[in-house]
Subunit: 199 residues, 2 copies
DNA sequence: TCTGTCCTGCCGACCATATGGTCGGTAACC
DNA sequence: GGTTACCGACCATATGGTCGGCAGGACAGA
């Protein structure tokens, strides 16, 4: 029953979690030693599992993307069968991630922090493409999807970086986006969907 | 007529521009020496104008925030007198910043990159507050404003980090947001503005 | 069940280097 | 002539990464 002292999977998890927390708080500048100590491992131990700093950061990015995808999956409402159910799950996942008690930082935030790491931009691109395809399969008007997800992402970023946004405001945007994902009329009265408007 | 060889303001500008470009491309990790060389100055010269690395980054954040505010000001349509004119200018400024030929990086992007620098979060908070007040004075429904600006910011972030988003898609969101800022009906059919909806 | 052996997770000590910052000096502008 | 923008040389330190070694655990054979 006692946890094994040596367990590769467990140690990697520990390191990745520590790295996520520290990078979110202090940026990519954190030293390997600090991350290692925070994870309860020596720097050498860390380097044993991640051959270099860069590799650790790439692994972190992959892990966060996967965690977020899992969160969206978990947020899918099983009773919901209409088009846009995935978009709704996306919105829920993003905003639940923003709740103060949530420790795991939002994927967008971490992604932006890691975007300067070689290799990570490719990951982000591939991930974005995957989402786009999933949303197409979700059956909602692509325009609407782009608007909703952009707004969710933007709210996430501001929420984290622009200081504590009033939770009630966030909650309101959340509800608004969910409602938008269900609305069937044109987004804007007088604006035909699909026909760009002239300014 | 010859430009002065020694000009504090000019040198600071050169350094800040170089810093903005390099930080956007490589993250906050860039060394002072690289920034200095890129600006055509020695590291000592740089340090003469910015007493420390941290001070340089804070100054950079301030500068970018100011540049963006100026861009929004410049994007105000003088013939537009309805509520939401500032929001429309904001949207235009954000999306114009996203155009490929634009060198100056978007404020949100740089802000996120700099958010880990001590002192910068306070700047961001103050800036966000200032914007919120300005939007209140702009006279548009706050809900709508939050939705529109969040979406603009989110589109900006994805545009930069998730790889080249199809320009046509971006353009479409831009038009959609502008239209949204003019729409007078409820955002979502059946959802009364101001009354949060139950999921 | 005990023992020996191999694999490997993990560590401390060490190294090379990059980088932030200091200092004294030079010369351009007032 | 004084102020100061700017430079080259230098220093202290932090950090990424290497290396040799220790020991925990799985497994084989007795």
């Amino acid at each position: 029953m006692s946890a094994p002292v040596r367990d590769t999977a467990r140690t990697r998890r520990l390191v990745l979690d520590a790295a996520a927390e520290l990078v979110a708080a202090q940026g990519v500048g954190v030293s390997l030693d600090v991350i290692a100590r925070h994870a309860g491992v020596s720097k050498s131990g860390l380097l044993h599992h991640f051959r270099s700093r860069e590799q650790l950061l790439v692994a972190l990015a992959e892990d966060l993307l996967a965690q977020f995808a899992a969160a969206v999956d978990a947020a899918v409402d099983l009773a919901d069968h209409g088009p846009g159910r995935l978009v709704r799950a996306y919105v829920r996942a993003v905003f639940d991630d923003l709740r103060p008690e949530q420790v795991v930082p939002e994927h967008i935030v971490l992604s932006t922090a890691l975007a300067a790491v070689p290799g990570v931009p490719d990951l982000l691109r591939a991930d974005a493409l995957r989402w786009r395809e999933a949303f197409v399969a979700d059956g909602l008007d692509p325009q609407r999807v782009l608007l909703i997800t952009s707004a969710a992402d933007g709210a996430a970023v501001s929420g984290v970086y622009e200081g504590s946004v009033d939770p009630a405001r966030l909650e309101h945007v959340r509800e608004l986006l969910l409602a938008l994902s269900r609305g069937e009329g044109p987004l804007v009265p007088g604006l035909a969907s699909g026909a760009p408007h002239q300014v």
